[in-house]
Symmetry: C2
């Protein structure tokens, strides 16, 4: 038998997973229980109640799908869409495109409204698409595009969706717990997320919440949901009502998520958003001194994920390899049209720490100098320090 | 904020999850890494190589789906079936029915061959169904029906499938690692399982393996797979070939599964099957003295899961509640036509221990006596002891 490869301690400053609290790691080691054990059912109830608080919703229909974030995306779409339905999908990055891909696998008529990768979607174009299309079942957008670091304002789009009698579906994979998100106040009908970004738990579950309006549409479906595993009315029966067996829940992941959500609420949502903002601001101040600008315009930069333009002439893959190999720091590269052009730096959940900002800037200074970039030594760290010190 | 409910230590002798080794729990606490970190990719390779050994296959196409067992079932079906295909499905329990349900959600023409719950499927009936149907894409059966404790002989069915030019799909959720299973030797084309039964890991992943023939059929598909999350050719690109991003893998679960599979191979497959057999035999000897017979006939009783007929006049739900509340032992009840009539006692993976057999029989003796059953005190334990001692 071969020797096992030992996982390494990493500072995870990429697009996710992010680092998690030792409390969350410890929660994973709690004893396994039967999926219908009354004590375990209480754990599930506590987890869903905390999820409602973090989603800022009173939606009864709130649970976690047993899969990673993409399974939540798929659950949302296969349940809400029936063959022949029309969906308007905002695409300004990989994950909007993925929504469109999955919606078309549901047999929906998919109308995409695109923006350049790195820009926000234009509400007027979306409104026009909804009006032109006639009867639209849902409007779907990504709150924080993990491929570009852009945050999309949601409230105006919710209004447009509702004015056109469409449901409003939001991908909050990279925003939940790190960026202001108000499911009820803004009128989001379907919202899903993941655990390994700003929520602070390992990957493996996908939280999802449905407004009463979305639940009503779901109950009125004419055709069976094409997925049994992701059939939300069956998941509702297990999580929220009859406690009927559907599949064996992943206890360890549920323990971890409950603990992570508790940590979120102990910190407080506003304080947590502010922490993500402060550290992102410090990072950007530091990057600016290294000649690196964010891809996104001011005002649409997502705090959990900064997509920074790689300086000209730098071998970005080599720098990332050195960051990982020499410093144990992971950051991400770009996808699609942005491959080779951006670095995606995540400061999410536990990974959003002032010390990590300084550590990363230090390593980047060394490696970029090695690549031949002229740098005033320590300049980026000093700039970040100034922001962190309240300058 | 409410107090958290503390999970309890349980002796898990139900239909799964089963208890896991402390080594597996510890593996879950290994550091999270990026999903494309070269070190993590090595961990994935080691896991798939161990999986091949446990499946007894040389299938290159072997990986773990990021969901529980039912996600593996769905992955197998949505990838292999296209709308209009014909599938013959053996149904003699809940999970065979579930296969038929999912296959019909794929738009397939589903022909079920049924047997009474508790009996095996009749190969001649299956052969007739295949011949009558003409062109059949696949034959699907459950190896060990978790709802009935019946083990279905596979080799004759594989021959029938192949003679009729159909793929042979097997649900090995409750058999992998606990019951003799030879994917290559028997000619199984698609086989999926779960982690929380005889493999000895927490629930959260679904191992799956495809024969070259099945992969070829998959590559020839005319229509897109209806699920993006479970699209096996995309999962292949992440797990086995290009290392292209598809979704964020659940590192903690992969660490746990790798460790559990290593434990399986350290014990040895034959030794492990024998342990499952010996403890199941001891359990059944003990149950017999309490007047409890297995639902399944001799020769078709699955060692990992004994479905025992509840003695007349016993309130089975009350006994199970007392087992859990007073002894911390979980066993399962029956589903569907067997609700209230059977107990499902799992001796799977780490939970298959001689000490657990004795502990359970002791508790059952006490509780059944309380229910008014006349029992020669200690008789069941003595009978089990005799089997365990090699009597």
């Amino acid at each position: 038998m071969q020797q096992f490869t030992e996982p390494r301690e990493r500072l995870l400053l990429g697009p996710g997973p992010s680092n998690v609290s030792p409390r969350v790691i410890r929660a994973m080691t709690l004893p396994l229980m039967g999926y219908l054990d009354p004590t375990f059912l209480k754990v599930m109830d506590e987890m869903t109640e905390l999820l409602r608080q973090v989603f800022r919703t009173s939606n009864e229909f709130t649970l976690a799908v047993s899969g990673t974030g993409t399974s939540g995306m798929e659950a949302a779409l296969v349940n809400m869409l029936e063959p022949g339905d029309t969906a308007v999908v905002g695409t300004h990055g990989l994950f909007g495109q993925r929504i469109a891909d999955i919606a078309s696998r549901c047999g929906a008529n998919v109308i995409t409204v695109s923006a350049e990768w790195g820009k926000t979607l234009d509400p007027m174009e979306i409104e026009k698409a909804l009006k032109d299309a006639g009867q639209v079942k849902l409007l779907a957008v990504v709150h924080v595009e993990t491929s570009t670091g852009v945050v999309q304002p949601l409230a105006p789009l919710a209004e447009i969706a509702h004015n056109n009698n469409a449901l409003f579906l939001v991908d909050a994979v990279t925003s939940l717990g790190g960026v202001d998100l108000r499911v009820d106040e803004w009128g989001v009908d379907i919202c899903y997320s993941a655990t390994q970004k700003c929520v602070g738990s390992p990957p493996g579950l996908s939280p999802i919440t449905l407004s009463p309006r979305a639940v009503e549409v779901l109950r009125q479906r004419q055709t069976p949901v094409q997925s049994f595993y992701l059939d939300l009315l069956q998941l509702e029966r297990y999580w929220l009502t009859d406690r009927a067996y559907h599949h064996t829940a992943s206890m360890s992941m549920i323990y971890a998520l409950r603990e992570a959500l508790m940590i979120v609420m102990e910190e407080g949502l506003e304080a947590r958003y502010e922490r993500h903002q402060r550290n992102a601001d410090a990072l950007k101040a530091g990057l600016a001194t290294l000649g690196m600008q964010p891809l996104a315009a001011k005002g649409s930069q997502a705090n959990p994920l900064t997509a920074a333009l790689v300086p000209d002439g730098i071998d970005e893959a080599r720098v990332r390899r050195s960051l990982l190999g020499e410093y144990g720091i992971e950051i991400g590269g770009g996808f699609g049209p942005l491959a080779g052009k951006i670095w995606r730096i995540g400061l999410m959940g536990e990974s959003s720490q002032s010390s990590h900002v300084l550590t990363l800037l230090h390593a980047l200074e060394v490696l970029l100098a090695r690549e031949g970039l002229e740098i005033a030594s320590g300049s980026s760290i000093a700039a970040a320090h100034q922001v962190l010190a309240g300058g």
